[in-house]
């Protein structure tokens, strides 16, 4: 029983990341009708916003390390630590949460620039062409990051106060269920972001227009509303959502330039399983597949079908699509023309 609860918890943080990426993908697909293969790269860019922010905070002075005697060694001491002592140290410690301050504006800018600079020229083109151009863009973004940060993963730590694990079992009267704190924070964070996106779409006039545009772009346009500009903003929001997901994920998984591709493929499966164009479906499928993947890694399951942890998501996708060709919550008429 404990083991099952733990695997559900484990699925939730991964599922949170899948859901956030899939949400952005669906948002873009629903509004602009573009299949954005560069969305994984946006997740990766978000993670590297945190890396850059942490690097900015730890700009260091090279100080001769006197404790090394057999050759001249230098150690790096961050200026923040030199200037502000302990305060500086704790600012460096909180680099990841603080980096969201950088991630949001940067990703909004990146998203808007991407839509205005490239994607909008492909609205009227076929999905195949959109996939090619966005996939190409993803590769370009990857290589840019690789040339700046190298090919290797860059470890970032969660703040000391939020690392380690918490015994959440005792809250509900169960013993021996403790789970890493940051991963639970990530889950709550992803719920928060999902909630904010839905609230934005449901409760604001802007969101209402966007939803109307998703349903019938032409009519909204005929009513004299500049739907194109709003969709640009939507693209920016989707980029921010992916960026936030990537940014907060860095303490869980050290980011490298390839991070986006690893998540992109899974996120597309999530979108398809959830149903093309369905925001709720994307979120539900994200968490569902995250948990399933986690269960498949259990030794008891792997003992029955070896290697199942590597293919479970695709297997489930096949089964669901055979039973429900439009996915869990797919609407009629989306991508069926």
């Amino acid at each position: 029983m404990d083991a099952l609860i733990l695997q559900v918890l484990n699925g939730l943080d991964k599922g949170g990341a899948y859901a956030l990426i899939a949400l952005g993908l669906t948002l873009i697909f629903g509004t602009l009708g573009v299949v954005n293969f560069a969305h994984g790269a946006l997740f990766m860019l978000g993670a590297f916003c945190s890396v850059s922010f942490a690097k900015l905070l730890t700009i260091s002075e090279r100080v001769r390390d006197e404790s090394v005697t057999f050759f001249e060694a230098y150690k790096e001491v961050p200026y923040l630590e030199i200037w502000w002592g302990e305060t500086g140290k704790s600012i460096v410690d909180w680099a990841v949460p603080l980096s969201l301050l950088l991630t949001v504006p940067v990703m909004l800018l990146v998203g808007v620039a991407m839509e205005r600079g490239l994607i909008r020229f492909f609205y009227k083109r076929s999905h195949a062409e959109q996939i090619l151009v966005t996939f190409g863009l993803a590769i370009v973004l990857q290589e840019i990051v690789k040339s700046f940060f190298g090919a290797n993963p860059i470890p970032l730590a969660a703040p000391a106060a939020l690392s380690g694990s918490a015994d959440i079992g005792s809250l509900v009267g169960l013993h021996g269920i403790s789970y890493p704190l940051w991963r639970m924070i990530y889950f709550v964070f992803s719920l928060g972001v999902i909630g904010a996106v839905f609230a934005f779409l449901q409760l604001t006039t802007f969101g209402m227009v966007v939803r109307a545009g998703m349903a019938d772009r032409e009519t909204v346009g005929l009513l004299g509303i500049n739907i194109g500009r709003r969709f640009t903003v939507v693209f920016g929001i989707a980029a921010v959502v992916a960026g936030l997901a990537g940014s907060m994920y860095t303490p869980i998984l050290s980011p490298n330039y390839h991070l986006g591709m690893d998540f992109l493929v899974l996120s597309f499966v999530v979108v398809v399983v959830g149903g093309m164009g369905s925001l709720g479906g994307a979120v539900v499928a994200g968490f569902l597949l995250g948990i399933l993947q986690s269960f498949a890694s259990m030794t008891q399951v792997k003992a029955i079908i070896p290697g199942i942890d590597q293919i479970i998501i695709y297997l489930v996708a096949v089964v669901i699509l055979l039973a429900l060709p439009r996915g869990l919550m797919g609407r009629r008429g989306v991508m069926e023309a």
């Binding site: 695997q7 060694a73 150690k75 993963p153 969660a158 690392s163 869980i252």
Partner: protein
């Protein structure tokens, strides 16, 4: 009647070409006959000899690869008589003269194995075919080592392995053209088993997470045998894909499995990730299971990983091939030379690659030729000292080096940024020596057609 010789230009050219070919022919035959046993892959003819260094510059073992490359560059420098000479003065018996190899200046080319077997084979092949490398060295994965080793056997090029720890490299997959200076999983198990029983007791239950390829498998088997011989039980062994990144789904079941020791058969970036996640995220080191402190063991440990894992590496037991803090003249000379050059001490990956380069160069000098079968003979059963590990034997039967093995621990109170591991015990060479036949395998022939054919 006069005979008119009419020599047209065309006839003159054909005749002289035919004459020339006729005159030259015997010479060609003679030369071939004279050097019949000397036709071999990439025989260096000019004033330089090219070595091929194939290291992971990306992938989970890239940190090791970067350090290996530093060591190779330093070794080439020292072989060419530049710098302070590093371990060349301490190396005994040595035929090295500090003027390159057989008087030829040493040059090198590099390749990226990407920590993948197919990429490693492709880059090794390129270095042999396009860059005319006489020897290939490097690599930081046994999957890569085994793949490149068999390629080198086919091409007739000697392969001095870098960091590879699988029993298979000099066991079932051993090759006549492959040589390993690094120790292996079997030796780690034999060295570590008794220390684990001493530190953590004989009544322990172990849970293995294992990198799913040749090295992980043999490491798991060796650790299982060594710990079970001490009375430990093995609760579960779980395979994880190489480069998994997030190991959380494999770590979550550990604490509820009844195990009180986690053995991480991971290396490089994988180990840094799994150890960091186990210690800093899942807090395993502070847990109590079966009334005992939960412990984590990393059978193959290194300074680079301790650097990557940071505080998570503190107090972790493992084994190492070599450590820069060892108290012998060769180690000190190498650490000083490397530290002065790069501002950091060498890792065990760097050390083994440096030693391998010197050992190859020395064997060529001993043989007096680059001809691989002769070089192989010089390396087989070569007994040496002064490369940092004490007296060492390059066993001819399986091309495995035998020397002392270090049991190490992540230091609790590092004196500086490089002081990350302490040597707990030096296990003597005789204890870790085994019968070459236990792992099977065939070395194969020394005479191969190779790439010259």
């Amino acid at each position: 009647m006069s005979i008119k010789l009419e020599w047209s230009r065309r006839r003159f050219l054909t005749t002289s070409a035919a004459l020339g070919a006729g005159l030259a022919a015997p010479h060609v035959f003679v030369r071939n006959a004279w050097s019949q046993d000397k036709v071999f892959c990439n025989n260096p003819t000019g004033g330089t000899v090219t070595l091929g260094f194939n290291v992971p510059q990306s992938g989970p073992y890239a940190d090791e690869g970067a350090d290996e490359l530093r060591a190779f560059q330093l070794a080439v420098k020292h072989l060419n008589g530049e710098g302070d000479g590093g371990m060349i003065p301490t190396f005994k018996p040595s035929s090295l003269k500090g003027n390159g190899i057989l008087g030829k200046k040493v040059a090198f080319v590099t390749g990226d194995t990407q920590t993948k077997s197919d990429a490693a084979r492709a880059s090794a092949k390129r270095m042999v075919e396009a860059d005319k490398a006489i020897m290939i060295s490097g690599g930081s994965s046994s999957g890569v080592a085994v793949a490149v080793q068999s390629l080198c056997q086919d091409m007739g090029v000697i392969f001095m392995t870098g960091l590879t720890h699988s029993n298979d490299t000099t066991g079932k997959d051993k090759r006549r053209y492959g040589f390993r200076h690094f120790f292996n999983a079997y030796m780690s198990g034999v060295a570590l088993g008794p220390v684990l029983a001493e530190e953590y007791g004989k009544d322990r239950k172990a849970y293995h997470l294992t990198a799913d390829y040749t090295w992980g498998w043999t490491q798991e088997e060796s650790m299982k045998n060594a710990t079970e011989a001490q009375g430990w039980q093995t609760v579960q062994t779980v395979r994880t894909p190489l480069g998994a990144g997030d190991f959380s789904q494999y770590l979550t079941p550990v604490l509820n499995s009844g195990a009180d020791v986690l053995i991480l058969n991971h290396y490089g970036g994988d180990m840094v990730n799994s150890l960091r996640q186990a210690v800093t995220q899942f807090d395993m080191k502070s847990k109590q299971v079966n009334g005992k402190n939960f412990e984590i063991v990393v059978p193959l440990f290194s300074e680079l990983m301790a650097e990557g894992a940071g505080a998570a590496a503190k107090g972790i037991l493992g084994t190492a091939n070599w450590d820069w803090k060892l108290d012998n003249a060769a180690t000190k000379a190498f650490a000083k030379s490397f530290g002065t050059e790069y501002g950091r001490p060498p890792s065990q990956a760097a050390h083994t690659c440096y030693a391998q380069t010197l050992l190859y160069a020395n064997a060529v000098e001993m043989a007096g030729t680059f001809y691989p079968p002769e070089v192989i003979k010089a390396l087989e059963d070569f007994e040496f000292d002064g490369l940092g590990n004490g007296p060492t034997l390059y066993r001819g039967a399986d091309h495995q080096c035998f020397k002392d093995v270090l049991v190490v621990r992540g230091k609790e109170e590092p004196a500086n940024q490089f002081d990350l591991m302490e040597v707990v015990k030096i296990v003597p060479r005789d204890t870790v020596t085994y019968d070459a036949s236990i792992f099977g395998g065939e070395l194969g022939p020394a005479e191969v057609k190779g790439c010259a054919a």
